[in-house]
Amino acid sequence: MFTLSERPLEPETLTRKFENPRAGALVIFEGWVRNHHNGRDVSGLTYEAYPDMAIKEGERILQTARQRFAILDVHVAHRIGSTDIGERAIWVGVTSEHRQEAFLACRWIMDEIKTRVPIWKKEAYVEGEVEWVHASEGSTAAPADPAAHPRYVRQMPLREVGPDGQRKLADARLLVIGAGGLGCPALLYLAAAGVGHITICDGDRVEESNLHRQTLFTAVDIGRNKAEAAADRLRAYHPQLSVRAVADAATDESLPGLLQTMIPSAVLDCTDSFESKYTIHDLCWRNGTPLIQAAVYQLDGWVQLIDPRAEQGCMRCLWPEPPAVGCVGNCSEAGVLGVTPGLLGMHQAIEVIKLLLDLPDRLEDATLYVDVLSGETRRLRRPVREACPCRGRTPWPNLGNSLLYPGKRARALIRDAILLDIREPAERNGNPDWIQRIPNVPRAEWEQIPERYPDRPIILCCSGGVRSRKCLERLGHPPDIYAWSRSIHDMRCGCPAESQMPEKL
């Protein structure tokens, strides 16, 4: 239960709420009102809450904690009103069978409370002023001057770094999407270098088979969300940094908001699917955010910088469309040695540092190809394609929502969708029965689609994905109408067997 209290919190009363004999551990956290903040002497704190929403959001956090961690019970009590130095501001108690889960849950709950629950605090200072406090994101406040921090004393003598460079690193905000084979080495070295604000985004959980290459994790982390496990590890190594975990995949729906609230200095794409690469790429370009991409296949890989401000072209200049399904396997299918993403992730970190410190020879106009076996690296100049959307004269392909790529989302939609074959009738000659059963709407009749087929969702199909997208544009992107980005033959539904979607990339 999450409660607010206008009277001092009573630990004995709160502890007695836990009664489960299966519990082998009770972890308690107390937040105390302390006498200083940011170098000033504090005389007291006043907490103000939006009570109904604080309790609602607090209960939600506890509910999520019960799903994420194997805990038995949890109670949180938060003070509101005026408090004196030394008083308890918050009390969090968590029980579990074994202590690990209670420790992890307790910490997670505190981190969530600090960012989500509508409670504010006003500090009264000994000199007499009062001020509303804005919570910082990190677990420990950063030192006043990062250039004075003894941890970086070995890198600052480099003229490429220096005290100014160290401060730039500390001010930088990095969004790292993917805490896997590429993300782990990149995160480790960027945190070590002193990048001050890191947000890690990953919806997956750590698995045994990850541990040969995803080097931030240990066996104890198996089952934990990767972003959270990675963030905890980085905070343990470098407590002076601000590290935040977003335990969900970055999608076309969530990424724009993330980019707007974070305003990152750069984004690292450490993902392993073509769909995510194109989504992240397009959104970063349109948001004006530099992006460092890397990809790995078995024993080689590449890395590049896509910087809209450099006007040196984008990924679509060279690769206008993602490759066809099944063309290229990912790590679980094709296999990979840990050293390969290890090396490429390191190159991503190097590229970030070059960007943040304004060092030369950046990969804004070239791709670096790395062959792990021979040790060879080659820089290949990237073209700038005038017809590419990044040049501003042609529109960007419509992202995500209306454009369907093979995968989980498409599989789910197809179940209830109406398929329409928008090719010309002659193209259907000789097509299998299941395609003949799909209604045909040739180009001359495209405009009639929304009225003629009132049910939703609708999936438009053609021979390769280009026409279905054009049709969608012609219709004005109405809600719940999608364009299938592959050939209609890849759909293979309407036959007696369960619809078989190609496996996701």
Binding site: E48, Y50, M53, I113, V117, K121, K122, W132, A135
Partner: protein
């Protein structure tokens, strides 16, 4: 197009607006437009990207549309715990 909305204030906004709740007519289309209007009238100094919005005790995005009779709560950066 004018809509009537109720706005709830807490913390620093409550102090600057000198009230906990008000009803007003607005031309704003989205919540972020509404905040621009309110910060002009009440002298809020928080930049829009640091403000969050709640309707019915749930966070809603700043692009959410303003609707007739809705109660919006402005949430400055929280500092609980």
């Amino acid at each position: 197009m004018s809509t009537i909305v109720h706005v709830q204030y807490f913390a620093v906004f409550r102090e600057k607006a000198a009230c906990t709740k008000e009803t007003r007519t607005t031309e704003a289309a989205t919540l972020s437009d509404l905040y621009t209007e309110l910060s002009r009238d009440h002298g809020f100094s928080l930049p829009p990207d640091q403000v969050r919005f709640a309707v019915n005790e749930d966070y809603v995005p700043q692009e959410a549309r303003v609707e007739e009779g809705m109660t919006v709560t402005l949430i400055p950066p929280v500092a609980g715990g």
